[in-house]
């Protein structure tokens, strides 16, 4: 578990989602990266019901990551998060009276996982109710756990295949009270994905872009 950076790559003009993903694959392979299996990250939305105290209803997101297949992460919108065993999903079914699954809000990103030295790169197609909405790129530098230490190094690596789409330091790190020298954990990655999925949900459906 190293420092991760998740970002959205815009679809190139005149190209489909799949074509843009293929271009990214080609660039990585030219760099010397090796394909190493597939990955997926998904996110389900739950509405809190039975809101007796009159507080505004909060959304709960339950996420899974193929990198941690035995875990299940639950995050409140802008609030605390937890990671639990995978049978947390069963618990959510039991809590139906409190949290209602917002069907049709499920977002997931699936794609290919590449390894280049100590870097892991995951290029995924973000899909919502089986229509491709965008491209996610996750870069992980496995050798380092301090974002403040290796950010410049990661940036240099991302520039080599993302060019002008290279993102800035993710806000999940900058907004931490303890600063940039705290070791990362898997929740940092998930909240970056959650942020990305939130942006994708709001965005217009791309014309003519069904999932493969």
């Amino acid at each position: 578990m190293g420092v991760t950076c998740v970002c959205q790559v815009p679809v190139s003009e005149g190209k489909s989602v799949q074509q843009t993903v293929d271009i990214l694959h080609k660039k990585l392979e030219q760099l010397g990266a090796v394909k190493q299996g597939n990955f997926w990250v998904d996110c389900e939305t739950y509405h809190a019901t039975g809101n007796a105290t009159g507080q505004p209803s909060k959304l709960l997101y339950v996420m899974h990551n193929s990198e941690t297949p035995l875990s299940c992460m639950a995050l409140f919108e802008g609030g605390p998060g937890l990671s639990a065993d995978a049978n947390f999903d069963v618990l959510m079914v039991k809590l139906k009276s409190h949290f209602q699954n917002a069907k049709g809000h499920k977002v997931e990103s699936r794609g290919v996982r590449y390894r280049y030295c100590d870097f892991l790169v995951k290029i995924g197609t973000v899909a919502m109710s089986s229509s491709a909405r965008g491209i996610s790129v996750e870069v992980e530098y496995c050798a380092c756990v301090i974002p403040g230490d290796c950010w410049n190094l990661m940036k240099e690596f991302m520039q080599s295949f993302l060019g002008s789409n290279t993102p800035e330091l993710p806000t999940v790190f900058t907004s931490k009270a303890e600063g940039l020298s705290v070791p990362v954990d898997c929740m940092d990655t998930m909240s970056q994905y959650l942020e990305l999925f939130g942006r994708v949900r709001k965005q217009q459906v791309l014309p003519g872009s069904g999932v493969r």
């Binding site: 578990m1 190293g2 010397g32 280049y116 030295c117 100590d118 870097f119 496995c142 050798a143 380092c144 756990v145 301090i146 230490d149 290796c150 410049n152 190094l153 240099e156 690596f157 080599s160 020298s181 070791p183």
Partner: protein, 311 residues
């Protein structure tokens, strides 16, 4: 031209001399033949003896004659030319059928080769004598006698002294924590945690560093049975490279008389990795080369370089 003439004359004398040798040998054989046969059957004993003696004298005279002839010819032949660098084997060059027996050219080749070998071996031995290699070459010559005296004094240091040296070094570097373990007997194993960058396991023998292995800050340093894992290498290529360089540093920092200085220099060098991911290469100015950060640190200046940029 004169040589050719000379050789011609000599050759003639040679063939004559060979003939003379053959004649000598046959006359000598005749002497012994007559001796072997003994006295021939004659009527009187005196007659028998007389015939035998005259025959024997004749034979001896012919031996004498042949010997004189050979001696005369041998002065004509003269001594084989001593000026030839290969002495008698130089005569092989006189063989007219070079194609079938290229002995002479092969001999020259072998001679040149062995000359060269001797020359180079001489050069190598003088060079090797100048360089006193730090670890292994001490066994040569005079130092072989000194070695057994030096080693025990630094190998058998009191445990308390080793602990003191290590804790003093630990206090020198606030961003570096050094824990000391003695899992097997008196030899110390140090677990060095450098900031939040890396963990190094340093295996000591007394105050000599025997082996070191570097892993990532978040990597496991204990094996399944809860002991310090001093064998398995890091999962990350960056730290595998750093481990290689640290082993190089162990060989570089050597001062058998003052082992505590060596440990201190090594730790100072290791501490420069605190900015492993933050310092760009001093030569190419980049962070990454072939996916790796600048993993090399100069032994004197402690500047960061990529492995390929350091020359």
């Amino acid at each position: 031209m004169a040589d050719v003439m000379n050789v011609g004359v000599n050759l003639e004398a040679f063939s004559l001399a060979i003939n003379a040798i053959q004649a000598l040998r046959s006359s000598v054989t005749r002497v012994f033949d007559s001796l072997k046969d003994g006295m021939k059957n004659k009527e009187t004993l005196e007659g028998r003896e007389k015939v035998f003696i005259t025959e024997f004298q004749d034979n001896l005279q012919s031996v004498n004659r042949d010997l004189n002839e050979l001696e005369r010819l041998s002065t004509l032949v003269g001594r084989p030319s001593e000026s030839h660098p290969l002495h008698n084997s130089g005569l092989l060059s006189l063989d007219p059928v070079q194609d079938k027996t290229p002995l002479y050219s092969q001999l020259l080749q072998a001679y040149k080769w062995s000359n060269k070998l001797q020359y180079h071996a001489g050069l190598a031995s003088s060079l090797l004598n100048q360089q006193s290699l730090k670890r292994s070459a001490n066994q040569m010559g005079t130092s072989a006698k000194r070695r057994p005296k030096v080693q025990p004094s630094t190998l058998v240091l009191p445990i308390q002294y080793v602990d003191d040296v290590i804790s003093r070094i630990g206090r020198m570097f606030p961003d570096m924590s050094i824990e000391l373990f003695r899992p097997n007997g008196t030899s110390a194993v140090l677990l060095v945690t450098l900031g939040k960058v890396l963990k190094a396991i340093v295996v000591m023998r007394s105050l000599f560093i025997d082996r070191t292995i570097v892993r990532g800050f978040h990597e496991n340093i204990y094996s399944e049975d809860g002991k310090l894992d001093i064998w398995s290498k890091s999962n990350y290529q960056a730290f595998q490279k750093v481990t290689d360089h640290a082993t190089t540093a162990l060989l570089h920092y050597q001062l058998p008389q003052m082992p505590d200085v060596v440990v201190r220099s090594f730790m100072t060098w290791l501490r420069s990795y605190i900015k492993l991911f933050q310092n760009p290469c001093q030569r190419c100015g980049k962070f990454l080369q072939e996916g790796l950060p600048p993993t090399w640190r100069d032994f004197r200046t402690l500047e960061a370089f990529h492995d390929t940029c350091r020359q």
